[in-house]
Subunit: 710 residues, 2 copies
């Protein structure tokens, strides 16, 4: 039996018409009871076969003493037996002909039993049975009313598919969605991912017609490039919102101890999300809000927001947040305001944006939103209720069906009217948020996603580096190249470097300097000196032969004093570059995403403010352009307040060249061009540092990391 | 009758034993009905006298045809009649002997009837009757079960007093508090504040024993210094959390058009909050969360957080947020971990911080928290529930009473168990948050407040500038001083400036330069040249007499070319300062808070990154020290990565001097020392710009601004 394509097998697992539950129990404190109970309470309409060695009856169903006894080939087997029995049960399931199994049991890698995991992995490969889990809370797929999850039982169907590495996150997101009337299409825990993994689920839900948005909570990523490729492909079809924990150092420490998967820095992660159209969030509530907005709002044509409120205060809070998130809050054109004046609104209404009706009337909201839409005032209209608004659900439903703008609702301070109304509105398909600011955060996600889709018209990218060896580099394998070796790399990629020559004696140095023209710079070249400035191995601004000779001598002496055993290959003599703006361009082999390009302003901007950005290589041109524009210090590049601007076009080219270099030269572990000096026209790398390293085949890194249920 | 002290009269208003409701109505759609109904439903136990010209019976109570008919002197009169009748009713109330009136009616300044407002203000002054409102949703004071507010009726008593400029904010905050079991002590709308204003309410609730925290939502501030003085005084007693709308430009526009009160910049506002111990927030949900934490948590002794969770994922989210907000997340000492190992926890428990029990057991939480407290691991323990935790309320109550650390709870993913449990826990006095991140934001506010109280041991400050004229400056009144005049100010405050002389001829310039020593700088001095560099009126790095003479001539020519009519007083010749780090120190007359000191790093840091900070003058030494430390670029001042540090002590002195200057010299509207050059030891202002202006008496600005109900 061959290993089937993940999407197809997931389709059969989720839509199984018969399930066996191995480990079903009649003890209500056991997961085996809770899970069977969930399946029943979830309203599953297929055939259910509890399996328990004791037989008898469980929860009103006949229990079978073994899988063999089950009277048909179950399409899915749910396994909730102690870990040591899981391999046998998995084999039995495969032999019975099941195509998939969901293993809820814990006690594998996370408990020091990687061997058991390897065993079921090998069974999966041998028999072709595909596995979800182990060590998970379960799966819930509402189109098939299949809730094989010990907690919680969610039956409110809606647009959101939830994929998480935490049972609590699954429970929280799906409960919130159920309570609010949003609902979910599915919920799944990742667990230890011995077989099917995050990318497979993304692929499945990307194709699933019942799912309109994918909400992800991750602690680590099993295969960064596979993940991005799946996510980027999915983002063509439908939005993905993500929360990845481990933002801070301690957070990362916690993640490492939990999942064993090595997390790269959060900055690289969030840059990768921007690059591939994934909406990245920083807390679980915002993840939920963004997913809700993305799953329900019509894609807006632009970023112009109009807030219409019954309360001036709530309108102001909405535009405060909107402007801080980069939405446009247009002023109202005079003709529109004139028309509004004929609309019999309250004389106290404030006819600006935010527009305050100063009246609690659903009809006023309706009139004004319709008129605004006719005037094409905004791409998104926020109906901003700060009071009990009678008739709100019907009005919102009408507007959603009759205006071009995308609609969202914020509702607070509305007492009982609100409690009932907000669920009705949400069930009608328009997202309701509990505060204006949370509504705006959701809207901003929708705008960001729409913008991404608009700008990404080329084919989906394939970024998995097949046959690429990487990872697992030990400190002793690293070797930094000498500057002249680094310069060779630059030359191959047409990256400008100052004119130079390598001198082995004072006379030769003076000679070279004379040929290059003054001023010149001297730099020691030694395999024993990783940081030239640490040993005073550099001299700048040298104006004549005497200075060159003196500093040549000084550098040799200082290096010898600092490192008595150091061998010195020579001294590089470079023509000194003209003044300009210094930036840093670099590349690294990220442990999660592989070759990654970095860019930032030089000196204090990087050191003090951490104002850097990343993109996963290979870059497309718009990636490089975005990098240049998105650092906070961009105004310095572009020229501000009469300051000179610099050659951002050549800078973009340089980023593309570095991207090509790290993709084509897998031996590069780290590259630092620091600084790159920008001029009004052109640029030059003034220093190059390359770290090479041995590579290991990706397969050698070991199988799936253990992702504890958490 | 004299105008009574606000706190005393508010005490009598809120604790009134009898109230007359003028405008009471039997029509359920009228505010006059809703308000009377609220008073009854709120459980008011005093005597209620509805007043309506038609008499009869309203809501089961005898209605009187006029205030005069009411059979006793009502301690409070609630007024809900059309605006034009309010002055008469107010006078009648005063004549009847009422000491206070709450005017809910709208239709005053916000509707173009400032005259009506002036009238009731004058009645208040004549008769001594104190007024709340007009144009408000009402007041709710729960210790007296007095809910004279047309919406909502909140009867869940708790620690939070709510003061807002928005009915929606009042409703939302009090409904949230009621739903969650937190409760409120009081809620009040500010409205147009014709008499009693935000500072009076702060003073009252600061003394009110039923209130443990004050939550404020403001759109503008009537009197910035009075507000700060009250708030800072209150902050000695109890915490104040605030949300001020108008963070962004459009937000401010909305506020201006709504309230007519001129808002200063948000940066000045939030700096002022930091200075005076007010917890400033950026959205209404965070305002609520912070107020909840501040009103219920025990003041922690430090900022060390321990997260104990049933879910690894939720623990990680907590520490992510904690670290990004500057809380400490200590590692666990080995002895503690050893003890934990004897506690019969799950073998899957993760014994680090965050501590994941990997088990859903209230008893495990109890054991571990007790042990951690014994080991003094943390100042705050977050009980981080990600599952249904049976017995949680009893366990939390036990811990809160038996450990030294401050306790907070995050609870999600807990289904029905959670719904019931979270209200019980909250009613037991421990704050419950719906996500780990929101819990951490609340905790961070509590830590910030505790730190403020610890650092502020001196007497509360009086910062109202009595007899100070200010404000209302028109453009044509402004006058910038010539640099030599500015230098005089510097001299009076012992602020160093380079040696210099004013030259009126080339010869004189060369002479002065010779005396000072080279290199020198030339600067044009002209009342017609507000920006010297705009007309090339500066020359730097001049190394000899020839250069000085040539540039003296050039400057004259260039200025004449740019501004043919310009009169040139002369050219300032200054000794050029040595290299150093340039910062900006300034002062401005903020429209809300008056004299304010500004500090930031020079050049791109200020221009591109807006990395500046403010303090309201007069500064105390710790204010100046905080300013220096709190800019993002502080590492540059302190010295990073082997870079040199600068004289932050002299910089602190300079900020104190500037503070003294702007307090003692009220004619200064703006002061710019840009740059101030810092050295390893010492500093120098290299340029001084003073703008003076006419002043108007504060009283001339007009009375209270209209703050619309919103």
């Amino acid at each position: 039996m061959s290993v089937e394509k993940a999407v197809e097998v997931l389709d059969r697992i989720f839509n199984a018409k018969s399930i066996a539950v191995v480990g079903a129990s009649s003890d209500p404190t056991k997961f085996g009871y809770m899970t069977l109970d969930s399946i029943i309470r979830g309203g599953y309409e297929g055939r259910i076969y509890p399996v328990n060695p004791r037989g008898g009856e469980i929860l009103g169903l006949r229990a079978y003493q073994s899988l063999g006894e089950v009277p048909e080939r179950p399409e899915l087997v749910v396994i909730i037996v102690p870990a040591q029995y899981v391999p046998n049960v998995t084999r039995e399931a495969a032999e019975k002909g099941a195509q998939g199994a969901v293993i809820l049991s814990a006690g594998f890698r996370e408990a020091g039993r990687a061997d058991l995991e390897a065993e079921i992995q090998s069974i999966s490969q041998t028999y072709g049975i595909r596995l979800i889990g182990p060590n998970i809370q379960g799966i819930n797929y509402l189109p098939n009313k299949l809730c094989a999850m010990f907690f919680p039982v969610i039956t409110t169907k809606g647009p959101m598919a939830i994929i998480t590495q935490s049972g609590s996150a699954t429970a929280a997101l799906s409960e919130w969605a159920a309570y609010e009337g949003l609902g979910i299409s599915a919920a799944i825990n990742l667990g230890n991912q011995v077989d099917l993994c995050e990318s497979d689920y993304i692929d499945f839900f990307s194709a699933d017609m019942h799912t309109k948005v994918i909400a992800l909570y991750l602690e680590g990523i099993r295969d960064g490039r596979q993940f991005l490729e799946s996510a980027a492909r999915a983002a063509r079809q439908k939005p993905i919102a993500i929360l990845k924990s481990g933002r801070t150092l301690t957070g990362q420490r916690a993640v490492s101890s939990h999942t064993g998967s090595l997390a790269g820095s959060h900055e690289v992660f969030s840059s990768a999300c921007r690059q591939f159209g994934i909406i990245s969030t920083n807390d679980i509530e915002t993840l939920y809000d963004c997913a809700k907005a993305l799953g329900t709002m019509r894609e807006p044509r632009g970023n112009r927001l109009l807030s219409i409120s019954s309360s001036g205060g709530m309108g102001t809070l909405a535009v405060d947040e909107a402007e801080s998130l980069g939405l446009a809050v247009p002023s109202l054109p005079e003709e529109f305001v004139e028309e509004l004046k004929g609309c019999d609104l309250s004389p106290l209404a404030s006819l600006s944006n935010p527009l305050d009706l100063a009246n609690i009337s659903a009809e006023d909201f309706r009139k004004v939103a319709l008129l605004a839409d006719g005037f094409n005032i905004a791409d998104i209209i926020l109906l901003n209720f700060g009071d009990p608004v009678a008739g709100a659900p019907e009005m919102v439903e009408y507007l959603a069906g009759n205006i071009k703008a995308s609609v969202a609702v914020s509702y607070l301070g509305g007492g009982e009217e609100e409690k009932v109304g907000r669920i009705k509105i949400q069930k009608g398909g328009v997202p309701v948020f509990p505060t204006p600011e949370r509504a705006i955060r959701g809207i901003a996600a929708v705008v960001e996603y729409a913008r991404y889709r608009e700008n990404r018209t080329e084919q989906p990218r394939e970024i998995v580096l097949h046959n690429r060896k990487r990872g697992g580099l030990e400190a002793e394998d690293r070797r930094f190249l000498l500057e002249p070796e680094g310069i060779e790399y630059l030359r191959s990629y047409q990256i400008p470097y100052p004119d130079h020559g390598l001198a082995h004696s004072e006379e030769e140095a003076v000679d070279i300097a004379g040929r290059l023209g003054y001023p010149v710079v001297l730099k020691v070249v030694s395999a024993d000196v990783p940081h030239k400035t640490d040993v005073n191995g550099v001299a700048v601004g040298l104006e004549g032969g005497d200075q060159v000779a003196a500093h040549f001598k000084r550098i040799h002496e200082e290096v010898k004093r600092a490192l008595t055993e150091a061998s010195v290959e020579g001294v590089l003599v470079c023509r000194q570059a003209p003044e300009g703006l210094d930036v840093i361009v670099g590349a690294l082999d990220d442990p999660v995403f592989g070759p990654t390009v970095m860019f930032g302003l030089g000196g204090i901007f990087t050191e003090v403010l951490g104002d850097v950005t990343f993109r996963i290589a290979p870059l497309e041109r718009h990636d490089a352009e975005e990098m240049v524009r998105e650092i906070r210090g961009y105004p310095l590049l572009a020229g501000v307040r009469g300051r000179q601007g610099y050659d951002t076009e050549q800078l973009t080219e340089l980023l593309m060249s570095v991207s090509r270099m790290v993709i084509e030269r897998p031996e590069i572990r780290e590259l630092d061009l620091n600084p790159v000096r920008l001029f009004e026209r052109g640029l030059m790398a003034l220093d190059v540092r390359v770290i090479k390293g041995h590579s290991f085949d990706q397969e050698d890194e070991g199988g799936a990391p253990a992702n504890r249920r958490s």
